[in-house]
Amino acid sequence: MTGQIVVQFLTGLAGAASLFLVAAGLSIIFGVTRIVNFAHGSLYMLGAYIAYSLTERLAVGTIYGFWVSVVLAALAVALIGAAIEIAILRRIYRAPELFQLLATFGVVLVVQDAALWIWGPVDLMGPRAPGLDSSVEIMGQRLPEYDLALIVISPLVLGLLWLLFYRTRWGILVRAATQDREMVGALGRNQAWLFTSVFFVGAFLAGLGGAIQLPKGGADLLIDLNIIAAAFVIVVVGGMGSITGAFLAAILIGELQAFAVLLLPESTLVIMFLAMAVVLVVRPWGLLGRPVAEHAAGRAAEPLLRPPGRTQRMIWGAVIACLLTLPLIAEDFTLTLSIEIMILALFAASLHFIMGPGGMVSFGHAAYFGLGAYGAALLATKLDTPMELALLAAPAIAGAGALVFGWFCVRLSGVYLAMLTLAFAQIAWSVVFQWYELTGGEDGLLGIRRTPWADSRIVFYYLVLAACGVAIYAMRRMIFAPFGYAVRAGRDSRLRAEAIGIDTRRFEWMAFLIAGAMAGIAGGLYVYSKGSVFPDEMSIPRSVDGLVMVLLGGVQTLSGPLFGAAGFTWLHDAISRLEYWRFILGGTIIGLVLAFPEGLGGIWRQLEDWVRRRRAVARQAKP
């Protein structure tokens, strides 16, 4: 028994190694550049794949060859990371922070297809590490020798990083930049050099993490998003920007997972995110993190938010007229696509509701879409609930989820809040994924039929149009009602808002609830449009889709996210039959970000400003 515990403990330590490496890299990059690098998981994945190819050629059974391959793979990834920084991110440091996030989403997609193209769709089994391919006996239990190597690696890397940060000029610069943002601006030309080198080091660690876990986990096309979720958890649990914190957190999570496998195998996915939620509630800034000072002046100036002008209202009238007449002229295929677009437009609008006016970025909004979808689907399949009732229940269920998750989330702010939303979304997702008896796990829930009166595609189209239209309109009303002003006041300047008697946290919570319920409506409609539901509907990619729609559309405009949803869904549909559609989508996102750092909705506003100025000039010119 003791033997088993000791060995399991060592297994946990071994598992912590690559988690620590990835999280340390993510943390360093965030600390200096303030970029949440979603593509960090992709770098890890590349590390695994490149190490695979190198060991095939170099290792051939020699100890030396294996470890050289691992280090070379990490170096190659480091170069790729630096190249990404130079080619893409460097051009958009002046753009709003979220746009940098968007660009890294683009990179995730591009890397996924690049890996698919180079290494193919089949999961690759990692080679055994030569010289460490058997196991040792500890207190009557067997432990793979390679695990011992992994256990040694993390403290070794931690030590090397310590030397790098405390004994080199570069390290001093990095620490100074992490602690004092003003200083970064004062660096002038050296800033570019610092950022690139930080990406190089961060990517090296990610690549190394991917490479060393190759003998244990192999390489496949899903590890990028799996590891990024885990890395977020560790960075947040450890405390943003703290390498030692990341080390402790990696061990904590590694151990929890190792023992969870022993005690309750179904809980492995949930446990990591639960641990994060618990730590954040007790220590909002992570184990070794420090609180971020609240600025009296509030965030970078937000542009004025105005109710729609006459031109805009006319355009909306025209859009609605087109949508109303569409079934008369369109084919089935167009109607189906339009239904999906309207549903996702509501999803995007609900995400925008908390991100724009609320100023709370959510990385896990799919949770509420999924809760609505699964809520409706379970009612329909398990309890034979009629469609009307299930559709009404969907927002209630999603809203209840948002009420619980939101209570925790609004206690944090900024990146911490965003990552906590991701953690909650992953909890919801893993419950659905692992609770096979109830949700059917990966097989999903099938055969959900619409009520006879709504069975025809045209009737359902109008139902979706009405539901989404009313929901979106209601959210707009709220934004311009006192509630919206209160929420926006909290975003613009929390200090000022509280000083005039606004309980900002309560309004954020309410906004969370409303956004969740609205996403739930979208989820419920989605189930009845497809007739089925799968865990994908609440997975990270779905959350990311929402973010891309909102950010592409322009988070500072109200209609932007709707157009973003339409454009994204249409593009997605148009290319999704191609083999390398992710590459195209990712490339498009990167291209758009570089070309329009204000979002597509921003183009509209720029145009409007221009027209207004022209008119003013014309008016003045008249005698």
């Binding site: 600025h295 009296a296 937000e302 006192p482 002003y485 006041a489 613009d492 000083a499 008697g501 606004i502």
Partner: protein, 251 residues
């Protein structure tokens, strides 16, 4: 009538005793200046008075009622208005909307989900803006205003809850000298006509000695002098503090 009574107020941050047991009163219609070098504890004191910080000890009474430790929203509704050292306004709103939001909050109309806020309390907001001389810019974005104008907007916002006590943390910091005197004169005029008690901090001695009825001097969290401008001007310890000779050296 005494509006604010502060007794034995303490607040420390780790090793720093930012406010170390201070007592003072402010009467209705009175302008009390709190002066002291950087880091003396002035902003910390303000943050306790408006509820942003919880004191380690001591009592704060507003019109006889204990308010120490209450949340800022609650204290605001009891009649305390505040302006910040670094101006804090809502950048995505117009000047008028900033004041309207404060009025909406004051009248507890915040929960409305449907009726547009644009017309709520518009007239009252315009009246306040008129009073601080910002009516002409009512529909401009707050984010594009000159710093001095922003300070005026903040004053209007701070007056929206019809306060009996106004806390102004360096109301004229960052303004041109002529503007400073003008803004302080305006503040004095408004608060006297409404019988509001004012506590303000200020580094500009012209503003302090020109407008304050009484002055208290803070150094390292402790009160070292208080009295009329003449008394404070004549005080030996204050002179030492402001002439740069440290009180420590003398000991």
């Amino acid at each position: 009538m005494t509006v604010l009574e502060v007794r034995a107020l303490y607040k420390g941050f780790g090793g720093v005793q930012a406010v170390a047991g201070i007592d003072f009163d402010v009467a209705a219609g009175e302008l009390l200046a709190m002066i002291g070098p950087n880091g003396a504890g002035k902003s910390t004191c303000f943050n306790i008075l408006n509820g942003q910080l919880r004191p380690d000890g001591g009592s704060v009474r507003l019109a006889g009622r204990e308010i120490a430790g209450l949340p800022p929203g609650h204290i605001s509704r009891l009649g305390v208005g505040r302006t910040f050292q670094i101006t804090a306004t809502f950048g995505s709103m117009t000047v008028a909307e900033n004041v309207q939001t404060a009025l909406i909050a004051h009248h507890r109309d915040l929960a409305g989900l449907w009726r547009p806020a644009a017309s709520l309390h518009r007239a009252a907001a315009m009246a306040l803006l008129e009073r601080v001389g910002m009516a002409a810019q009512a529909d401009r974005a707050c984010g594009v205003l000159a710093y001095g104008d922003l300070k005026r907007v903040e004053l209007a916002v701070a007056l929206a809850n019809d306060p009996m006590l106004l806390l102004m943390d360096e109301p004229t910091a960052g303004m041109a000298p002529a503007e400073r005197v003008e803004l302080m004169a305006l503040t004095a005029e408004i608060t006297r006509e409404r019988n509001i008690a004012v506590l303000f901090t200020e580094h500009d001695m012209d503003v302090v000695f020109g407008h304050a009825d009484r002055i208290i001097v803070l150094n390292r969290g402790a009160l070292i002098a208080s009295g009329t401008p003449q008394e404070v001007r004549a005080n030996r310890r204050v002179r030492e503090l402001y002439l740069g000779e440290s009180v420590e050296a003398e000991r």
